[in-house]
């Protein structure tokens, strides 16, 4: 399986994502510069964390107009799996590929710490290998992760089961104290209506090895392989597929 990792000027988790795919996951990854116009034959796309274009104006506001975003949109519209991590999530929001917007953290602090998130739904390319209700411990590093959607949009997201991750305490309960940024309804991540575009603030790619940070994030990348293997013709090479249970 081939992952394209989009690199914007100011991306800083692009190498983490590339490493997580090529190393712990055991699949192929390649960088795609934001001025490129084609994702090539990628099977999945990662918009990585960082501070694209310095976060000037608003997080993701400039990056959404990068030339590669036209092909990301085409890929997403065709049902291809797209994962936006942190700044990548913010870019997807600004691009309108996911609903809502990000506000400054309610604490006004840049939060750099581990959080627990609960997997709400497992019928997406990036949660397919999770258990419903599974609690994942992953790091966050952001100043603007305070997710906002107006009440009508939020009600629609809940009705469509688009809220994929919520900040919870270690026992899996949604609490005010477990919410690091003031995000409405403790939303840590969501998907689009077609369920192939996923964005979240925590960094799964920085939690893929037991030696550093734990390995809870790896299941999200394994989910993509799991999802892809079930859809792809048998001739498509998936290096890590044999290690996954159906």
């Amino acid at each position: 399986m081939k992952f394209a990792v989009v690199v914007f000027p100011g991306s800083n988790s692009d190498h983490d994502a590339h490493y997580a795919v090529e190393g712990p996951l055991g699949e192929e990854a390649r960088f795609v510069w934001h001025k490129g116009t084609s994702l090539g034959d990628a099977d999945a796309v990662i918009l990585p964390g960082g501070f694209a274009h310095g976060d000037y104006l608003r997080t993701g506001a400039i990056a959404r107009f990068s030339p590669i975003m036209a092909d990301v949109r085409r890929f997403a519209d065709a049902g291809g799996p797209v994962l936006g991590i942190c700044n990548g999530f913010q870019v997807l929001l600004e691009a309108g590929l996911l609903p809502g917007a990000m506000l400054r953290n309610d604490s006004l602090h840049f939060r750099c710490e581990f959080v627990s998130v609960r997997v709400e739904h497992v019928d997406t390319p990036f949660t397919a290998a999770c258990r419903p209700g599974q609690v994942l411990r992953m790091p966050i590093a952001h100043g603007e992760g305070n997710y906002y959607a107006d009440p009508e949009v939020l009600a629609r997201l809940e009705a469509n089961r688009q809220v994929l991750f919520r900040y919870v305490d270690a026992s899996g309960q949604v609490t005010r104290d477990s919410n690091p940024n003031g995000s409405v309804a403790n939303v840590a991540g969501l998907c689009n209506e077609a369920r192939n575009v996923v964005g979240l603030m925590p960094h799964p790619e920085r939690a893929c090895e037991l030696a550093i940070n734990g390995a809870d994030g790896l299941v999200m990348l394994q989910s993509a392989v799991h999802w892809f293997t079930r859809r792809a013709p048998a001739s498509v090479a998936v290096r890590g597929a044999s290690s996954l249970s159906a």
Binding site: L57, R58, A61, F65, L93, E94, P99, G100, A101, L103, R104, N105, D106, S107, L108, N146, Y148, A149, D150, G182
Partner: protein, 85 residues
């Protein structure tokens, strides 16, 4: 032609920065300040033959880039007195 664009958070959107600034002002003795909303201010110098044309360009720019309609609203003012400084 100089056009000013003011971008502010919608009234329904909580503004943690504005709230913090208000608290700081209260600490400094500005007890009469009931509330603060923080926003962004842009000056656009636009080559246009009329104020209407300049305003339209600025409005299009605000719609497309300067403001995020999910959380922000904006106001456009054309500076009819002065040209580009």
């Amino acid at each position: 032609m100089r056009v000013r664009v003011f971008v502010t958070l919608k009234p329904s959107v909580f503004d943690p920065q504005g709230t913090t600034v208000a608290e700081a002002l209260h600490t400094l003795g500005f007890g009469s300040v009931d509330g603060v909303r923080q926003g962004k201010y842009f000056e656009l110098d636009i080559a246009a033959s009329s104020a209407e044309e300049a305003k339209q360009v600025a409005t299009d720019a605000a719609d497309k880039l300067l403001a995020n309609p999910v959380i922000e609203s904006y106001r456009v003012e054309v500076d009819t007195a002065g040209g580009a400084r």
